[in-house]
């Protein structure tokens, strides 16, 4: 073969992957501006749904800090849903629409494509999260100022990183199982809210709370951020913030490594069973 044309230096794979990630993000970032209806459906309306839980607490006569739980949970829910639907299930939709084949034949890595999807989606997701924060502060007068803002930002970024790595793991499952996993993800949306304590302190789950906090980046990050905003007593924190930050920091490389392994493995299994080329399962 004409190897000269295809000879690559050591940085070529990285350049290809960065270009691929940017190209995939481009679709999301610029497509968003062409179909502005997403502002209503992916930002404003979901935030309204979050209000329901604030009113539940008001109906029950709960102390004010519970409304802070709901608002902060709503903010992180935006990112969790982005991970689930914009990353995890994306391969499923790409396959249904006939684009998956193209990605799998291209030489760029799968993680680059997923990273591009994540990057592209983060703009929209952050708008929703931001709106949740603003609504919480302006409409419900919740106090969301953390005592240590830089630490809170660090915890937030660590949580996001680990969450998106988890999204890549989910994406690998979709590569293999397609529609079944999509339905299961749909079904697990609310159970995930439950085990991650999106609307209540994780301590309320008792031993299940410990199980959650030892494994789920969203649960760990949310509990830590609530403690930084409300203090450990009002936030009913499960573990000290320092411990939770350490757990988060450890989970990031673990989830990333797991994602790399799962993506490669699921692709191999999909090629062996033929699941990758089956369009409508």
């Amino acid at each position: 073969m004409n190897r000269d044309r295809f000879a690559e230096d050591r940085l070529e794979p990285l350049r290809t992957n960065l270009r691929a990630a940017w190209a995939r993000a481009y679709v999301r970032i610029f497509a968003a501006s062409r179909e502005p209806s997403w502002i209503l459906f992916e930002t404003i309306m979901p935030v309204l749904g979050m209000f329901a839980y604030v009113y539940v607490y008001r109906a029950l006569g709960a102390p004010r800090e519970f409304e802070t739980f709901v608002v902060m949970g709503g903010v992180m829910m935006a990112y969790w849903l982005a991970v689930l639907w914009s990353m995890g299930t994306q391969w499923f939709f790409e396959k249904q629409e006939g684009n998956l084949e193209f990605y799998l034949v291209a030489p760029c890595s799968r993680m680059a494509i997923l990273a591009g999807m994540a990057l592209g989606g983060v703009v929209m997701t952050s708008m929703r999260a931001g709106l949740s924060l603003v609504a919480g502060v302006l409409l419900f007068r919740t106090n969301l100022m953390p005592g240590e803002p830089w630490l809170a930002l660090g915890v937030f970024l660590l949580t996001l990183g680990s969450l998106y790595a988890l999204g890549m793991c989910l994406a690998s499952l979709f590569l293999m199982y397609g529609r079944e996993v999509w339905h299961v993800s749909n079904a697990l949306a609310e159970p995930m809210y439950l085990v991650n304590g999106l609307y209540f302190p994780l301590k309320a789950l008792g031993p299940w709370g410990f199980a959650a906090i030892s494994t789920l980046p969203l649960a760990i990050g949310l509990d830590a951020m609530r403690q930084l905003v409300l203090g450990p007593v009002l936030a009913r924190g499960l573990l000290p913030v320092g411990t939770e930050v350490a757990l988060l920091a450890a989970s990031l490389p673990v989830n990333l490594g797991l994602a790399v392994w799962l993506l490669a493995r699921s692709e191999r299994i999909g090629k062996r069973t033929g699941a990758l080329i089956l369009r409508h399962q």
Binding site: R15, T16, W22, G98, N99, V105, A106, P107
Partner: protein, 364 residues
């Protein structure tokens, strides 16, 4: 009667001579040995195994435009999926661009692209120009070069006027052209085209075939592997053709070579009134009755004969004259690829597809 006066000219084509090709395991553009592929459908007791490929051997040289011809369900697409690293074979070895497609898929993918027929042209929300740029990025093509190539492809494939239009606003034909264009934006060494002209109008299909010839002529190391069930397309374009049916390759040769295998006899098609008996024609010396086509709307049907020479043809016409039969039309040609296909596979494409439809209807 001089058959040569009546014969239809075969299109001229500059081809790669098979004897100059390196079809060895390490030198071939595509090399496959003993490929089998089975699929299991259903679960538990109702699970069924379908053998899509049953021992496929392939050798495609650099610079070839190689065709894989066969009916629906023959195994063409399965073969393509294996060659393009989308699917593992159940057994067998496959090397593409000199690399093991199973062990080193990335090295293969850097050098190939795949275009599947149909209108899957990417994301509807992007413009044509943006789509081509985006696809190029997945191959790591620098943006400036990608844009230059994109502009060339827009011109060459008649997409210039649609360059800034969103993909979801294009007609099917333009989407298919875009789908085709994206396979070339990375300037691959090997392009796999899986039924690329499926559903295209005549002009678009002609345009694409012309593009393929030019693209290959511009760099003699470029290789194209094309699957199709359009005989004329395979005949016109391909240097060599593999005929595949029921998961097996039945013959591989140049189009001329395939025709020569079948027969030196000239083909004659006589259009007769529906119901005319044809057994007597088969008894004429030098005439073989190949097949008849079903009656058409005009109340006539076609009789396909293989005729050794002018004397045999005169004999056949005399038989019809004696019986007072009306000949509505008569034409002669060299053995076509369809004749080759029928001879090798044992039945025509139309017949295969009619049988398939009947089987499906009975199964339903």
């Amino acid at each position: 009667m001089d058959l040569d006066v009546m014969h239809e000219a075969t299109p001229q084509r500059v081809t790669t001579a098979p004897e100059t090709l390196d079809l060895s395991r390490d030198g071939a553009a595509v090399w496959a040995s003993g490929l089998t592929r089975s699929f299991v459908s259903g679960r538990g007791r109702s699970a069924k195994t379908v053998h899509a490929l049953s021992g496929v051997d392939l050798g495609i040289g650099r610079g070839e435009l190689f065709g894989v011809l066969g009916p629906n369900g023959a195994g063409k697409t399965t073969t393509m999926k294996i060659l393009t690293t989308l699917l593992f074979p159940t057994t067998g070895e496959v090397r593409v661009a000199g690399f093991d497609a199973i062990a080193k898929p990335r090295d293969v993918r850097r050098r190939i692209s795949l275009v599947s027929g149909g209108d899957n042209a990417g994301y509807g929300i992007l413009t044509v120009r943006e789509s081509l740029w985006m696809f190029s990025q997945f191959y790591g093509v620098p943006s400036k070069l990608a844009r230059e190539r994109g502009e060339e492809l827009l011109d060459r494939l008649g997409l210039r006027e649609k360059a800034d239009e969103r993909v979801n606003r294009l007609s099917t034909g333009f989407k298919q052209r875009l789908n085709f264009a994206r396979g070339f934006v990375s300037d691959p060494a090997i392009v796999f085209l899986d039924e690329p002209t499926l559903g295209l109008d005549v002009e678009s299909a002609r345009n694409i075939r012309g593009f393929l010839r030019e693209w290959m002529a511009a760099d003699r190391t470029r290789t194209v592997v094309l699957t199709t069930h359009y005989m004329a397309e395979a005949d016109e374009l391909c240097d060599r053709i593999a005929i595949i049916d029921r998961g097996k390759i039945l013959a591989t040769d140049t189009p001329q070579g395939l025709r020569a295998r079948v027969s030196a006899d000239r083909r004659v098609v006589i259009e007769l009134e529906t119901g005319t008996p044809v057994d007597a024609l088969a008894r004429v010396p030098g005439v073989r009755l190949l097949r008849t086509t079903p009656p058409g709307e005009r109340g006539t049907f076609g009789v396909h004969l293989a005729v050794a020479d002018g004397k045999a043809l005169r004999g056949a016409l005399d038989v019809l004259g004696v019986e007072g039969r009306t000949i509505h039309n008569l034409s002669t040609h060299d053995p076509s690829l369809e004749d080759v296909f029928v001879a090798i596979v044992g039945r025509g494409l139309e017949e295969i597809e009619a049988d398939e439809a009947k089987r499906r209807a009975e199964g339903a």
